[in-house]
Symmetry: C2
């Protein structure tokens, strides 16, 4: 099944409390552009983030405010900051990395809140039903093109409010796969969610791989035979 | 087969002519640290590179000098520079992107020479023989871990001077796979080099995938049966 790709650049979500510290009491965020998840928007406001080694300026804020402040960067950004954020799903901030946020009116020193986002798929209930996936299952995605690869271990997030199914990756991942926002990738219809590709292939030694290849070759030969039969039939019809 | 990973950060190779323009007449590069390919070394000298939008400073030079100047950046760097370099193997510079290099004594405006390196495997002749790969074949590599994936379409470079087999990726790719220099990945022993994973899986519709899965399930069941038989035998021996 072909699904669209959404590429996330570094960004952060602010709590009401931190928004006021950074921008002043009673401040409200100014929506600039809506995201593919329609309740979310990029704001006009920007902030700086700082780690042990360096800072990154002009970082986008995604509104509306949330219960917890969360900063999402790439591993490339993490090197610039001199930080070591864990790879996490949004909202899972326990023992994540520290980071300092600076706005026009103040500064927030977070003891935790810096993460690298784990790649994931926002899936509609309809697609999940059809493909046999449940919330928090893992999926595999095939990316074609000049830097083709397979993203194994992509977390599926099924939610009623999802209006379409979309793969979310960060800019490191998009650059690695030579993908841009909105391009299509192939979500595998593999129902056995317990088998990851890595494990699947690691299960086989050379002799077993030969068996699998032979099995695949048989299927291909069978399909070719059908095509040849149809061609023969067409040739006969044309003669007659 | 487990092979080591070598992560390449942005760097450049200089021609003798360009070395003299950037550092002065008769200048010689100062080796600082040897690379995994023993004839190559990182130099003490650094330069800046510039594109239409921005510059990157303190870029490493890899010695010795070469026939052609070549600048290798990540796609993340390319965004910073405002450039659109193609994904290429080292040395393949026809119609690659323009870039300006600045050193302490001068500046070189290259009409072409900026590329994003195509991921590749330096392979020993012995490993190539054993695995059934030839120079310029494509291989697949499985990366385990928290950001597990499969690098499909990895070019194999077989050469007599290769002392060990190693996967070379750039920092975007290393960050995407959560890999560091020297870690191990699994090079697949798949001899049919014409079949890429993408094509292999795309060949099958749902019915065919079920057949492949059934075939795999049979192999697994057969292996389990053998294990059960051996366990029974062991139990009998223990009783007797």
């Amino acid at each position: 099944m072909l699904i669209a790709v959404g590429v996330s650049a570094r960004h952060l979500h602010l709590s009401d409390e931190h928004l006021e510290i950074l921008f002043g009491q009673g401040y409200r965020l100014t929506p600039k552009r809506h995201l593919s998840i329609p309740t979310q928007y990029v704001c006009e406001e920007r902030v700086s983030i700082r780690g042990a080694r360096g800072a990154i300026h002009n970082v986008a804020i995604i509104g509306p405010t949330r219960a917890q402040t969360q900063v999402e960067v790439t591993r490339t950004d993490a090197v610039t900051l001199g930080a070591n954020p864990p790879i996490r799903l949004s909202g899972d901030l326990d023992e994540s990395a520290p980071v300092t946020i600076t706005g026009p009116k103040g500064q927030v020193e977070l003891p935790e809140g810096l993460i690298v986002a784990m790649r994931h798929i926002h899936m509609t209930e309809k697609d999940a039903d059809e493909l046999g996936f449940s919330h928090k299952d893992y999926a595999m995605v095939i990316v074609p093109g000049p830097r083709s690869l397979v993203f194994d271990h992509v977390v599926v997030r099924v939610a009623r409010e999802n209006t379409h199914t979309e793969l979310h990756i960060d800019t490191d991942e998009a650059n690695t796969a030579a993908l841009s926002n909105g391009e299509k990738v192939n979500l595998l219809r593999i129902n056995d969610k317990k088998i990851r590709l890595e494990q699947l292939i690691a299960m086989f030694d050379e002799r077993q791989l030969k068996q699998v290849e032979a099995c695949i070759a048989n299927i291909v030969a069978e399909e070719r035979r059908k095509v040849a039969e149809m061609e023969d039939m067409l040739a006969l019809l044309r003669k007659g």
